[in-house]
Amino acid sequence: MITWSNFVSQLFNGLALGALLALISSGLTIIYGTLGVLNLAHGAMFMLGGYAGYAAYQATNSFVLAVIAGSVALLLVGVVLERVLVRHFYSRPHEDQLLVTFGLAIVIVEAVRFFFGSESRSVPAPASLSGITSLGFAMYPTYRIALMGIIAVALFALFVVLYRTRLGMIVRAGIEDAVMVDSLGINVYRVFMVVFGIGAMAAGFAGIVNAPVVSLTPEVGETILVQTFVVVVIGGVGSFPGAILGGLIAGEIISLTSMVNPGYAYVMLFAAMTLVLMVRPHGLMGQPGRE
């Protein structure tokens, strides 16, 4: 229903949804931009981060430790996977890369199902962030508001790493032209490993900080992965700022469309992606012809 208070509520909610999508998409786009690997296991990594955090929460009862565990676990998983599996596919066709990461996603999901079952698992928000806050125009879960701040900090940290460090400079150079970076004597393969680890960590971090919002199931990454691809396409493949812009746009589309007709929320998301592909095939902030 369209009322002023509902409009403002949905606008705000779109921002919250978009922030999460931006965070997950940033990991995906950094990996794709640098390594050229479209990681179909990114959603599974998002899920795995949630479960790693859940296990840590069960053991320690501390949300902060759960977030650290979810992030570090996925950093390690990312590094190991890059070393033993993904690196062998850099020089192979995209089809092979899609298949291997697709298969990896299935293995991760089913492994989690084997250990944790299909029943949903909850990680409660920390006591200080649980409850409801009145925003004037709407009652909104306190944790979701806090989550926007948490994600903003995480994205800023990623920005600093990418744009203010030597590693970030190499990564961005790698996105532009990996062959040139290689020929300048920089060990791109080590950089690739770090990038895959950071991308996985971003997914894992998103998975655990999002856990109090959703309840965890082995499939939680699957639906989000599809949206993440839409975000990356809208924002521009390989573009970090594009992932953030695309995430916010996607969040607003879902939220505002649902105000008019909830049945069309996801349809409109894909319609927007189609429109962007027609008008600006390289995405809003992507660069044409980048190889």
Partner: protein
Amino acid sequence: MSHRDDRAPSGRRNFIRTSLAAVGGMALPGFATRAMAADNHPAIGTWPAGAEGNSVFIGIAVPRTGTYAVQGEDELKGWQLAIEHLNSGDSLIRRISPRTKKGVLGKEVKYGAADSAAKPNNAVQAEQRFITENHAILMTGSTSSAVAVAMNKLAQREKVLYVTGISGSNDTTGKDCVRYGFRQNFYGQTAAAAIGPVLVKAYGKGKKAAYMTPDYTYGHTVTKSMQDYLATAGWTTATNQVSPLGAPDYSSYLLNVANSGADVLINVNWGHDAVLSIQQAQRFGIFDKMKLAVPYQIPFLAPEVGGGLLAGVYAATDFWWTLEDKYPLAKLFVQSFEKRWGYKPEWGANNAYMSFAFWADAVENAGSFYPPDVIKSFEAGRKLQSTVGEVYFRKEDHQLVRPVVIVQGKKPNEMKNKEDFWNVVEIVPGEALMQKPDAFGCNLGDYT
């Protein structure tokens, strides 16, 4: 290095796990001879090929992954128990199907189970394989009415019997009914007619309701039935939030609900969607403003939602284990199930068990696996003993006429044990709840 590949993920996994289990005793040759001698018909579907050996095969396509996975696993356990009971000639199944001795018509029952992920395509492909490779004589599965409707069509086309798993849509035995399909459980119309009066009594007339509806046949028909019934008590629809199956987040829908000014939230979502939407509704403070009602109860909802969120909430269901206090067969079933699987059965498992027991009864009474004879046996309207008392199949639409159970969530401190989530408040006889057989456009089609 190339960085360009904008292709979207190419479809979802088509992951089918097939398990074959051979359980129970040996077939008795004498029975097999009698069954075949009685059959003198041209071949149809998988008959007689599927009924010629010492065993018959049932194809099960059930969600073991996805939004309805938890409910699917529970159903599967119900079917497995029924097959074990059939093959061993257990006393419980013989009370439901009195002619059963061991197996069905003396033949051992075997089965294969495939993951449908609650997707019609997956289910149809799996069952098609069971028909081709195993000559399946019976098909089952569905925790989604979209699957049930697709399976109905497959059953009618292939002339292989299908008994639904969980399916709540009016369409399954309504406009999409088929001669080869049968449904044991309750559905939108009977759910609404049973829970409607309870809601009106509890919350009054002339209330405003907000609906949350999954976007497929189950959701649309259950919501429509609820709206129609409640309109007779002056209730109006404040908003209807339609969402896709497996939506990752309900915040935008819940904001609309919160801003709708409704008195009651009627949540038709199912499986994990129901769990997530109820948990998130609580976080948005919605239950401070409105009551929750669940017209089509979801197995394991209470423990999964947690936190006593369902205390006081009314729901309509097919079966709840405390019915064992009222019905002797329910007591036997709950005991057998708990002994076999280590937990109290939910209604999905009960539905699964009963649907196989009724099929066995129909075959035994037909004295043959010849599908038209089995169908006519189902359609004979025999009074059947069940875990909810005496029931029968309506011949016009193949819907079981059975009571609907109204339950209310207990507060955590009222629970006598860790699985004591619901209080049975009413058992509403089925006949008066049902629409006229042709009201939803059912046309069963041909026998052959």
